[in-house]
Amino acid sequence: MGIRLLATLAMLLVLGALLPPQAVAYEPSYAEAPAVPDDQVEYLFAVHPLHNPRRMYEVYQPLVQRINAAAGPEFRVKLETSRDYASFEQKLGRRKFHFAVPNPYQTLDSERNGYRIIGKMGNDSRFRGIIIARRDNALASVMDLKGAAISFPAPTALAATMMPRLFLYRHGLAPGDINARYVGSQDSAIMNVLLGKTAAAGTWPPPWEALRRRRPEVEKELVVKWETEPLVNNGLVVRSDVPDQHVALVKSVLLALHDEADGRAILEAMEIGRFETADTATFDPVRQFLREYEAVFGRMR
């Protein structure tokens, strides 16, 4: 009797242990169209790569959200960043963006691709190039950079590359006297100097000041050695096929930012005081600069 009970228990135990668990099969399925159709008009809003994409998103997404709040159901704006100047310019050349904030050079270039200038960033005095070097690098004059490697974001970065390079030229360094290294972004150019990979870096005030706020320790290592003269700030362009009422709504939101506290907070993150109305004539000084620059360094296109 005992053996039989034990055998029955053992059989139940073994059967219980051998019973397979409940099978669960799953593979995602796909469809050509979304389950809920999205009919809302979407505009792409882009800013030339002043920072890395994540930083760009942090800075400019609040602006986009403010525009979307104003636009309501009529349309929405989506921020799209670019990893470097080349990709930004490529997308701008392909008319991918509906609204864009290119640098002054790209602003003028976009006009050839069907964009029109409707505004610009204010505070032109801040739109200047700066040359940063390590504090332990005893640079007495621009000529000390002769033969040195200097990091720049991109060849078409007006404030960070073109204006510093013309500044160096004007102070005695011919185009071939330096080893220009284009490293993709403002932050990258500065980090190259910090790590000693280059002797100096060309950039402009907003990214430098943003970096100082994020990493105060860099100020112990780096210092702004030279500043260029200011020029017209970054432009605000719109693709020609965007309806006027939508253009007007976006423009009105941007021009009114400095009138409200939260708008000013957005502008402060962008290192500017306001957006201003502008047109193609506003950028004539830039055209003058470009002629001089191309005379020295050759045509950009």
């Binding site: 005992g2 053996i3 034990l6 055998a7 228990l9 053992a10 135990l13 073994v14 242990a17 099978a23 669960v24 099969a25 799953y26 593979e27 995602p28 399925s29 796909y30 469809a31 050509e32 169209a33 979304p34 389950a35 999205d38 792409l44 890395n52 994409p53 994540r54 760009m56 998103y57 942090e58 997404q61 609040p62 959200q65 921020l79 799209e80 960043t81 670019s82 990893r83 990709s87």
Partner: protein, 494 residues
């Protein structure tokens, strides 16, 4: 119960089977629980580890793809997705926008499509946290939000294959089953060896019991173990030795007693024989000596009277009276001699002697007691000693009936039931009194004792018991095929 059946029941069918089955089942249960628990623990650990790895992988994919998503760089996203799919058993990886549109996928044909299944739709509309949103048999599905500035810009979705984990678990399970089988086999072998050692001693014990049943007491059980069973075997051997010793003593006592009984019987037989011989001699002497003397006296007296006839001698009357007395004395002597040793018994046999005895009693009892003799089939002579004992028993028994039973009838039955003569005396009298009821009972008891002694002298026995309905039955069983030389001699007489 046969030896084989008891061995099968107690040995092979009982202890061994129970021990082997019990050990095997206990091993099976314990190892099953152990292996099941181990495999489940490993499974839980591995799946948790796989969950964690998949989640980490999805999170890394989300973080690494965020710049490309922000830039809407499909090529960049594709590179990131393909990079994440290298190794680690990734079944598929994808980056989708918040609306479920696939921006990058390890299967490029999926790019541009929309997630359509409820599980995926639920996952991308759920909390903005990295999580495992589905565990299927084949894969772990994890999702991680791609976020920037607190805004959701997409999802990284990853499915990691479980086949390696499943294969390892299957391997662990197989190994566990092998261990279980090995444990059962080892346990069974151990149980077999254990049962063998136990059963060996038990078999030897059973053999000892069989020997005991066959009355073999001089073969002790071999003690091969020092455990409890071995101690039982030792105790059995002690009991066996004690039994053998007791039996030896008993046998010796029986032999002695038998020898004493034989001697007693021989003595009794001799005593009876001596008595009978003496009676026979006295009877002969009475017959030969006194009888002859009395016959001589009778002849003289007759002669004297014949001489004195006609002389009117006054001594004639005295002679006549003396002759009458001598004749009476001759009759008495004849009767006494016949009582001492009936000549009929020696010359004609038991039945005529009994009938003569009855005839002699008739004048004494008259018609108050009817005596019958049934001797159908009894027509042979038996050894003289047996006939004498039988005659004396009938004589004593019948005398008792006449004197004490107050019976109206008595029947004597002689039967030969080889090798015994059965003498039965049945009466319808008052029955036998208890042995303590007075002098009459004592007398009858003495008479019965004498009958028993006579019967015992030839190896027989006498039994007296009351009859149902009244009366007494005396039954004597007297062996006539005696083995003693005396009996053979007696037999040869007849």
């Amino acid at each position: 119960m046969s030896v084989r059946s008891s061995r099968r029941l107690i040995g092979e069918a009982g202890i061994r089977r129970n021990l082997v089955l019990g050990v095997a089942i206990v091993h099976l249960m314990l190892m099953t629980v152990f292996v099941f628990d181990l495999v489940e623990r490993q499974k839980a650990f591995l799946l948790e580890e796989l969950d964690r790895r998949t989640l980490h992988h999805a999170h890394v994919l989300a973080v690494s793809s965020s710049p490309w998503v922000l830039s809407d760089d499909l090529v960049g996203m594709e590179e990131v997705v393909e990079g994440s799919a290298r190794g680690s058993g990734v079944r598929h990886a994808m980056i989708v926008d918040p609306g479920g549109r696939i921006l990058a996928h390890t299967d490029r044909a999926r790019i541009g499509l929309y997630l359509a299944d409820p599980t995926s739709s639920s996952a991308i509309t759920g909390d903005r946290t990295a999580r495992v949103y589905q565990r299927s048999d084949a894969a772990i599905h994890a999702i991680a939000p791609i976020a920037a500035a607190d805004s959701l810009i997409g999802w990284a979705i990853l499915a990691v294959d479980k086949s390696a984990t499943n294969a390892y678990l299957a391997y662990a399970t197989r190994t566990g089953i092998l261990y279980t089988l090995a444990a059962i086999a080892i346990g069974t072998v151990f149980a077999l060896l254990l049962s063998r050692s136990i059963l060996r001693q038990l078999r030897l014990l059973l053999r000892g019991v069989d020997n005991l049943q066959r009355d073999v007491l001089d073969q002790p059980v071999k003690v091969v173990s020092r455990d409890e069973v071995g101690r039982v075997a030792e105790a059995f051997n002690r009991a066996l030795a004690s039994l053998a010793e007791g039996r030896r003593r008993l046998t010796s006592e029986i032999v002695e007693r038998k020898r004493a009984e034989d001697a007693l019987r021989t003595l009794s037989r001799r005593q009876v024989s001596v008595i009978e011989d003496e009676r026979k001699r006295i009877a002969r002497d009475l017959h030969d000596e006194l009888g002859q003397a009395l016959s001589g006296m009778q002849f003289c007296l007759t002669t004297m009277r014949s001489t004195m006839q006609g002389l009117d001698n006054p001594l004639d009357g005295a002679c006549a009276k003396m002759a009458s007395e001598v004749e009476r004395m001759g009759v008495s002597i004849h009767r006494i001699a016949n009582d001492l040793r009936p000549a009929t018994l020696d010359h004609l046999g038991l039945l005529p002697a009994i009938q003569a005895f009855i005839a002699d009693q008739k004048p004494l009892i008259g018609d108050s007691l009817a005596i019958s003799v049934d001797s159908a089939g009894f027509n042979r002579r038996l050894p003289a000693e047996v006939e004498m004992v039988a005659y004396r028993i009938v004589q004593e028994g019948l005398s008792n009936v006449i004197k004490h039973a107050s019976a109206s009838s008595v029947g004597i039955l002689l039967t030969v039931n080889h090798p015994q003569l059965i003498v039965t005396i049945r009466d319808d009298g008052v029955g036998i009194p208890s042995r303590t009821s007075g002098g009459q009972a004592v007398e009858r008891g003495i008479g019965l004792l004498g009958m028993e002694e006579r019967a015992a002298s030839i190896g027989g026995k006498v039994e007296v018991k009351p009859r149902r309905g009244g009366g007494t039955t005396l039954r004597a069983e007297l062996p006539y095929a005696l083995e003693t030389p005396h009996a053979e001699t007696a037999g040869s007489h007849s």
